[in-house]
């Protein structure tokens, strides 16, 4: 993970079978090592990935600790009802759409981000796929570089760019298009720009991986049959890069939904997403069980989205091969 969105995985357990490994060859061979060498890593991941998730699940059914740090071991469903109702001091319950609104916001930002990324990624992926091979490798590497730089710094860069004195407002004012700076920073717009910037490579790379395998003789055949450029693009090229598009949508949508830094630094509190509320519960708001319940909700949504996309991908494509996080390397 490493940054929200540091590649979301579509682990490729199947590819191992696919690699011409017959059952007989899978038998242990001299010197190939054996399965137990994986045990330490296995145990480590269980302790530091699985256990934390289990603890969050448990915490989400416990009561708030007196001082707010940690939990009180007393079963309750309050963290989940808090999602929809707020409790007044007198103990009365009333419907409170605050958190629903934030969840809806998160979806909305993630959807816009995915669409913008898709629109930008298809042309560049196709363009990359049609470059000469040597140059292509270098260009694809150039697309991945920003991904390997600090997410914090990449997000911060938009504070510089979008602020009232920043280069965009400066340029527009210098040209005389505007007199007063347009407020861009600390708006939902800034959040979405930050999200698009963060996740764009995740859309470009899988689509490129599909486009690279596209057989351009098919396009030539379509031209020969009298199709124009746009028809070829729409009817021949796009359908064959669909596996890449689906992978890209997963890789962008899921981490975008759980983003913390872009809304935190660029949204200015007006465009909080689920992750910001979770962070607040473990920080200033001091309500760990509620934060845990929100995390469980976010995890469930993430898994549901994965399942939906997996079903779509299964229906839509013949074997996709790579195109997941491995295309980053």
């Amino acid at each position: 993970m490493a940054t929200p969105g540091r590649a979301t995985a579509i682990p490729a357990p199947e590819s191992e079978e696919a690699s011409s490994t017959s059952p007989a060859r899978r038998q242990r061979q001299a010197g190939q090592g054996s399965w137990w060498s994986g045990i330490p890593g296995f145990v480590y991941l269980i302790a530091l990935v699985l256990f934390p998730l289990i603890i969050i699940l448990i915490y989400s059914f416990l009561s708030r600790a007196k001082l707010g740090v940690g939990v009180k071991w007393e079963f309750t469903l309050t963290p989940y009802t808090e999602l929809l109702y707020s409790e007044s001091l007198s103990g009365g319950r009333s419907f409170d759409p605050t958190y629903l609104q934030i969840i809806a916001n998160s979806f909305w930002y993630a959807i816009i981000t995915s669409i913008v990324c898709l629109v930008l990624a298809i042309p560049i992926a196709m363009w990359l796929a049609t470059r000469p091979p040597e140059r292509r490798t270098l260009l694809v590497f150039a697309v991945t570089i920003p991904f390997w730089t600090s997410l914090l710094i990449r997000t911060y860069s938009f504070i510089i760019i979008l602020n009232d004195n920043g280069p965009i407002n400066g340029a527009l004012q210098a040209v005389g298009i505007i007199d007063e700076p347009i407020p861009m920073l600390y708006t939902p717009f800034a959040t979405v720009v930050g999200l698009v910037y963060t996740f764009l490579p995740f859309m470009i790379l899988p689509i490129y991986a599909s486009a690279e395998r596209f057989d351009f003789r098919l396009a030539e055949a379509a031209y020969d049959l009298g199709a124009g450029k746009w028809t070829v693009l729409r009817r021949v090229v796009l359908p064959s890069v669909r596996p890449g598009v689906i992978a890209g949508l997963v890789l962008v949508f899921i981490p975008a939904l759980g983003s913390y830094l872009a809304p935190e630094l660029l949204g200015g509190g007006k465009s909080s997403m689920i992750a910001n509320v979770i962070a607040a519960q473990f920080g200033a708001s001091r309500n760990w069980p509620f934060g845990a319940a929100l995390s469980v909700l976010l995890l469930v949504i993430t898994l549901l989205v994965l399942v939906v996309f997996a079903l779509v991908a299964k229906r839509a494509s013949r074997a996709t091969g790579r195109g997941g996080w491995e295309s980053l390397l």
């Binding site: 993970m1 490493a2 940054t3 929200p4 540091r6 995985a9 682990p11 357990p13 079978e17 061979q29 001299a30 010197g31 090592g33 054996s34 137990w36 994986g38 330490p40 890593g41 991941l45 530091l48 990935v49 699985l50 934390p52 998730l53 603890i55 740090v69 930008l120 042309p123 560049i124 196709m126 363009w127 990359l128 049609t130 150039a142 697309v143 390997w148 730089t149 600090s150 914090l152 990449r154 760019i161 004195n165 280069p167 910037y197 030539e220 020969d224 450029k229 693009l233 981490p255 939904l257 992750a275 979770i278 473990f282 995390s295 976010l298 995890l299 993430t302 994965l306 996080w325 390397l329």
Partner: protein, 273 residues
């Protein structure tokens, strides 16, 4: 399509023209600008002599000396490096074991293993951060540098694993058989055959793990405690308090480090393919 246009096309051969779509080149240039201009601005404004970062006044190097001479920043850098080195070494050892183990693991085990390995990448980072925070608080492991290191190892494993596994899968099993036929035992084969063949993958994986650890903010932020401030956590504090070109100077140094390391990793991974 007219006969004339057909001949024109065929004369040009199965050429670039047919493969290009209008506006795609322009969009591509714009996207590349979009990907790199923000980083260019970060670097450019690190030389700004004005305290207000985005109002340019003049050229100076002074932010770099100010940042590098700052005690708190040096401590944060030391923490980051220490966490990065330990997390890298441990995650690479675990990942190498996993890569070798995955080859011979039974199918069910392999699916489970891949789910676990991929999980740190799918789980929203905030959830992983507060999950490990809860785990450490629950099991009374003190927050700080060591807590951060423990968590970093977990999400460095998948990044370390990829190049190692790619390398391992490229090895012809016949080399092991040959070594065994010549009388080498398992340990000798591992030491003399497997490790040298995997070495470029292991170094590439280690470099990736190191950047991932070095650049991590969210997990470190929640696990830092009083003494565990890492460089990104420190930068976040600077951004929150007062943004000066010093933030840019520090960011520029981190950008350079990341880009150098990933380029090195990339070159190693491509080697002898």
């Amino acid at each position: 399509m007219t006969q004339e246009s057909l001949t024109r096309r065929s004369r040009r051969g199965v050429g670039a023209g047919l493969r290009d779509f209008p506006t795609f080149r322009a969009v591509s240039y714009i996207v590349f600008a979009f990907l790199y201009l923000p980083l260019v601005f970060v670097v450019a404004y690190s030389f700004n002599s004005n305290r207000v970062v985005s109002v340019w006044r003049g050229f100076t190097f002074s932010w770099y000396s100010e940042v590098l001479g700052n005690d708190a920043i040096q401590r944060a850098l030391f923490n980051s490096l220490r966490i990065g080195f330990v997390a890298t070494i441990v995650s690479v050892v675990l990942a190498t074991g996993l890569a070798i183990g995955l080859l011979t693991m039974a199918r069910a085990g392999r699916t489970f293993a891949w789910t676990l390995i991929g999980a740190p990448l799918i789980i929203p980072e905030i959830v992983f951060a507060i999950g490990t925070l809860s785990l450490f608080v629950q099991s009374r492991i003190p927050l700080g540098v060591n807590a951060i290191t423990l968590a970093h190892i977990a999400f460095c494993i998948p990044f370390a694993l990829l190049p190692i596994r790619a390398r391992l899968r490229g090895v012809d099993p016949a080399v092991y058989e040959a070594a065994a036929d010549l009388g080498a035992n398992e340990w000798t084969i591992f030491r003399r055959i497997t490790m040298p063949l995997l070495a470029p993958g292991i170094v590439a994986g280690a470099l990736l793990a190191f950047i991932i650890s070095l650049d991590d903010f969210i997990v470190s932020y929640f696990l830092a405690g009083p003494g565990g401030t890492t460089l990104p956590v420190y930068i976040f504090g600077m951004i929150r308090n007062a943004i000066t070109p010093g933030v840019n100077a520090l960011s520029t140094l981190m950008l350079i480090a990341s880009i150098l390391i990933v380029s090195l990793s990339y070159l190693l991974a491509r080697k002898r393919r």
